[in-house]
């Protein structure tokens, strides 16, 4: 029985941060970890894709160029819908954001090659709330900096919607401020929770399969059920990987729209 359990990796182990190269900068630990590695892999993957899409760009596009152009149009249309044509100044940021998150989400679904050391196991950077929260804060920082730069102090009108009766003027701004602060939190939690839950369930089901197979021929055939469950779940997670990147990007666009047009 202990042998069976030893083969099981706990569902949380895949989220552990492990040093690959230990680094210190002014006493702060900035080690190159498995999280860093997979961020790097994601960025390299996106760059390779974009290079293939734009290298020898032609009037009549090849397959890679078509894919790149579709993504470009997809994000550009989304941003234009949310912010109007002025919003196109945020396009490089929103596009990078979408590609980075999508790539992290998607590559994190790659099955770990058996026998690799722990630190090289597949890792999903977007399953860590500090990462998703930092990305959300970048959006909010751009929103605040650009909002005040473009509208000056009038940007504060964002917290005082027009048509509020005077006796509610103390409460509504409070609610608006809480609502504003909750934006990066909800952005961060949504992406993090989706990635966390998806990977946990995949791992638990995978654990069932291993355990059932190891339990002997009597119950081994039952492993087909968690296996089928995992196939369906994997397909669902592919969709979620895309949808969550898309939702993160579109909500960032919607929020950035407030910097351009601060009145609700």
């Amino acid at each position: 029985m202990t042998a069976v359990l030893a083969t099981l990796a706990g569902p949380m182990e895949q989220f552990e941060i492990l040093d690959i190269i230990h680094l210190d900068l002014a006493g702060v630990n900035i080690s190159f970890t498995n999280a860093s590695l997979w961020m790097l892999i994601s960025v390299v993957a996106v760059s390779v894709f974009m290079f293939a899409a734009t290298n020898r760009a032609q009037m009549v596009p090849g397959k890679m160029q078509s894919a790149g152009e579709s993504l470009y149009q997809f994000i550009a249309d989304m941003l234009r819908d949310a912010c109007g044509s002025e919003g196109m100044r945020f396009f490089p940021y929103i596009f990078t954001l979408f590609m980075f998150i999508f790539s992290c989400n998607l590559l994190g679904l790659w099955p770990t090659i058996p026998g690799l050391p722990y630190a090289l196991h597949t890792f999903t950077p977007t399953s860590h709330i500090i990462v998703t929260f930092a990305l959300a804060m970048v959006t909010i920082t751009i929103l605040l900096v650009y909002g005040f730069y473009k509208n000056g102090i009038g940007f504060l009108k964002l917290f005082v919607p027009s048509g509020v009766p005077w006796w509610l003027l103390w409460l509504i701004p409070l609610i608006e401020i809480v609502s504003f602060i909750s934006r990066p939190i909800s952005l961060a939690i949504r992406l993090f929770a989706n990635m966390l839950a998806g990977h946990m369930i995949l791992k638990i089901f995978a654990g069932f399969i291993t355990a059932l197979l190891a339990a002997g021929p009597m119950v081994g055939w039952l492993a087909i059920f968690p296996f089928l469950g995992n196939v369906a779940l994997f397909l669902l997670e592919l969709l979620v990987a895309f949808l969550q990147a898309y939702v993160f990007a579109i909500l960032s666009s919607v929020y950035l729209n407030d910097a351009l047009h601060p009145s609700h």
Binding site: D77, L174, E176, V178, S179, S186, I189
Partner: protein, 109 residues
């Protein structure tokens, strides 16, 4: 004889013009259609965490104030109420944007 031949040739220019216009309109229509369907989908995934985030933010703020001035648990309770209101507001806005996107879509059709 001559005039008959001329009449046969004549519609081909108009026909060409029609085909040209049709092709042009099709290009525009494809672009419009692809656009409107997406925004509604994106908004639908938004609502779930809006409420939670607002509660969390306002509750934490209240809790922080309580810790500072030792007024447990009043500010946290007030914060939760405020968070609830902000959460409702968030959801209400998300719904509004979703409806706007859907209306725009049905207007296109």
């Amino acid at each position: 004889m001559d005039s008959r031949h001329q009449d046969d040739d004549l519609p081909s220019i108009d026909e060409f013009g029609e085909r040209l216009d049709k092709s042009r309109r099709k290009d525009d229509a494809v672009e419009d259609l692809q656009r409107s369907e997406r925004s509604a989908l994106g908004q639908a995934f938004r609502i779930g965490t809006e409420m939670l985030a607002a509660l969390l933010v306002a509750g934490a703020l209240g809790y922080g104030i309580d810790q500072l001035i030792g007024s447990k648990p009043w500010f946290m309770l007030a914060g939760l109420a405020l968070g609830f209101a902000a959460g409702i507001l968030n959801v209400y806005r998300a719904m509004n944007e979703m409806n706007a996107a859907l209306e725009e879509e049905s207007k296109d059709e």
